[in-house]
């Protein structure tokens, strides 16, 4: 489950990349469920805009299925102006009536907040045992404040927090970057501009205070926004890059153990690769 109290911090971007990453292992069945009813972004990011549903989910690749309210709308201008109960009904239907087949991973992309959609999905999935939630934030206090609420929400509904990802952690100017780029990404250097300044210590401090693990920090990258708009996968865009290989390695070396601990390790590893993958894209440009 991918959560954030704040909107526009990269929940869908992370969900899409995680789905692609997990599906790189052909033996695993991955499903991505988008429960952002009013603002579904997943169809566009997965390159499935304009597709319609049958009772099966749409497939990006053979082992990666996607379901979103976006597939049920007849035009991209259609607004879903629904109150809570109707949204809950649809979420229930997504879980019950979509023929997902046998799946190893179900990634749930959520809307911002702590309301109907979140309560419903946790409630409906409680029987199935949720591994936990990945929480996305940006470094500003305004965003962290909402994310703290989200962590409290997780505690309230007894949803384990796998960890926090700090997105848009900084920006490396593509013009004055140099070959120090790899270290630049991991160490905040002077060439990196803080667009969203972490005035209160960013996600790192918050994680320490709340005793949850920080999975990684991801810098802003114009390329990632473009890939999402076009619905491409990072991995297939640079198939020869070592990043793609390491994605596969990680997923292979991962044990088949579905415990929360294993998945948290997986998420951390995926994130490191994800950051690496992005840095490679920088170098290719």
């Amino acid at each position: 489950m991918v959560l954030s109290g704040k909107g526009g911090v990269g929940k869908s971007t992370f969900s899409a990349i995680l789905a692609h990453g997990l599906a790189a292992d052909e033996a695993k069945q991955v499903a991505l469920l988008d429960i952002d009813i009013c603002g579904p972004s997943i169809p566009k990011m997965m390159g499935l805009e304009g597709e319609q549903v049958s009772e099966y989910s749409n497939y990006v690749e053979e082992n990666l299925g996607v379901m979103s309210v976006g597939f049920l709308l007849s035009s991209p201008d259609d607004a879903v102006i629904w109150r809570g109960p109707k949204k809950n009904g649809l979420i229930k239907q997504f879980l019950r009536d979509v023929d997902w087949g046998e799946i190893d991973y179900l990634i749930v992309d959520t809307p911002p907040g702590t309301s109907d959609e979140h309560l419903s999905i946790v409630q409906y999935l409680s029987a199935a045992h949720i591994d936990g939630a990945v929480i996305i934030t940006t470094p500003q206090e305004v965003s962290l404040q909402d994310v703290r609420k989200e962590i409290n929400f997780c505690h309230k509904v007894k949803l384990p927090v796998i960890g926090v990802v700090e997105n848009m952690s900084g920006f490396i100017c593509p013009k004055c970057k140099n070959c120090r780029i790899l270290t630049l990404i991991f160490l905040l250097s002077q060439n990196e501009s803080q667009i969203f300044p972490p005035t209160t210590g960013g996600a790192e401090k918050m994680c320490q205070n709340l005793n949850v693990s920080l999975l990684g920090k991801v810098p802003l990258d114009p390329q990632i926004g473009k890939s999402c708009d076009k619905g491409q996968s990072f991995l297939s865009e640079a198939p020869e890059s070592p990043a793609t290989l390491s994605y596969r390695n990680i997923i292979q070396s991962k044990s088949d153990n579905h415990s929360a601990k294993a998945s948290s390790q997986l998420a951390a590893l995926l994130f490191r690769t994800f950051i690496y993958c992005r840095s490679m894209l920088f170098c290719h440009k």
Binding site: K44, D78, V142, K149, F171, P174, K175, N191
Partner: protein
């Protein structure tokens, strides 16, 4: 019941114009635009109120650095929180009603709707030139309730905020449909986070691509109010609750923000004349 509706009238009777700030997408800068618009309007000598109806993620108190204030009760209802001594900007948000700032408001629709109705009816705004309503992302409970509750007061219209990417513009198209369906006038579209000027080499990079908002405005036949660039000074001053309009007149986002406020002011003076 009669007494109730009479009271309702009196609480918003002194408010001249009501504006809504909407976006289908989250994190595009609705609260930022609401805040800066309020500051710009104050700069032109107006009295402004902001009603924050984002119940699960209120940002307005933090952006003005007044998150520790409480709401008090008076004869005519709730007293809004004032940002300054002159009482030129007043705020109401669920953030002021929480015991601890990290408390999560885990509410389903009906409870949210009840609070929004109370926010519209029971806040003693006094005399205001503008009431800006900052909303959560989406087209759901909060939005339907706010528009319904405000309908008797004939809101001026809505400002739609987007970032330039297709993913965000897509959600704002849905918001436009929402406005059409609920009969809310669209005052215009603002494209936020449009380009970033590197402070080291002054190269402008379009982090989130460019032009999506303007294209959408053209496509939908609504006014385009302008592009606001990504500006570290702007996000910094919002984090610290400082008055950006007062302190950074030379920054790259300043002209864009004041231009938006000016267009709103022009629109209202045309309307009244």
């Amino acid at each position: 019941v009669e007494e109730g509706s009479a009271k309702e009238k009196s609480n918003l009777a002194g408010v001249r114009h009501i504006l809504l700030v909407l976006s289908g997408k989250g994190g595009v800068g609705k609260s930022t635009i609401s805040t800066e618009l309020a500051l710009s309007l104050r700069h032109s000598g107006k009295k402004v109120g902001i009603l924050d109806v984002d119940l699960s993620g209120p940002s307005i108190p933090c952006m003005f650095r007044v998150q520790d204030n409480d709401v008090h009760q008076c004869d005519s209802g709730w007293v809004p929180v004032f940002v300054d001594q002159d009482k030129s900007i007043s705020l109401m948000s669920i953030g002021f009603l929480l015991e601890k700032p990290d408390d999560a408001v885990v509410w389903r629709g009906p409870k949210k709707n009840a609070l929004i109705k109370q926010f519209v009816a029971d806040v003693a705004w006094g005399d205001l030139d503008f009431l800006i309503v900052d909303t959560p992302p989406g087209t759901s409970d909060e939005h339907i309730s706010t528009v319904e509750a405000l309908r008797p007061y004939k809101p001026l219209g809505a400002i739609l905020v987007t970032t330039p990417q297709a993913v965000s513009v897509g959600d704002v198209r849905r918001e436009l449909t929402f406005c059409k369906k609920t009969g809310l006038r669209v005052l215009g579209i603002v494209e936020n986070m449009s380009g970033f000027v590197c402070p080291h080499c002054s190269e402008c990079t379009n982090i989130f691509s460019k032009g999506g908002g303007e294209e959408l405005a053209k496509h939908a036949g609504v006014p385009f109010l302008g592009c606001v660039p990504l500006d570290p000074q702007l996000s910094q001053s919002l984090e610290e609750g400082r008055d950006f309009i007062q302190e950074f007149p030379k920054s790259s986002a300043f002209p864009a923000l004041t231009h938006i406020a000016q267009q709103i002011l022009d629109g209202t003076s045309q309307r009244s004349s």
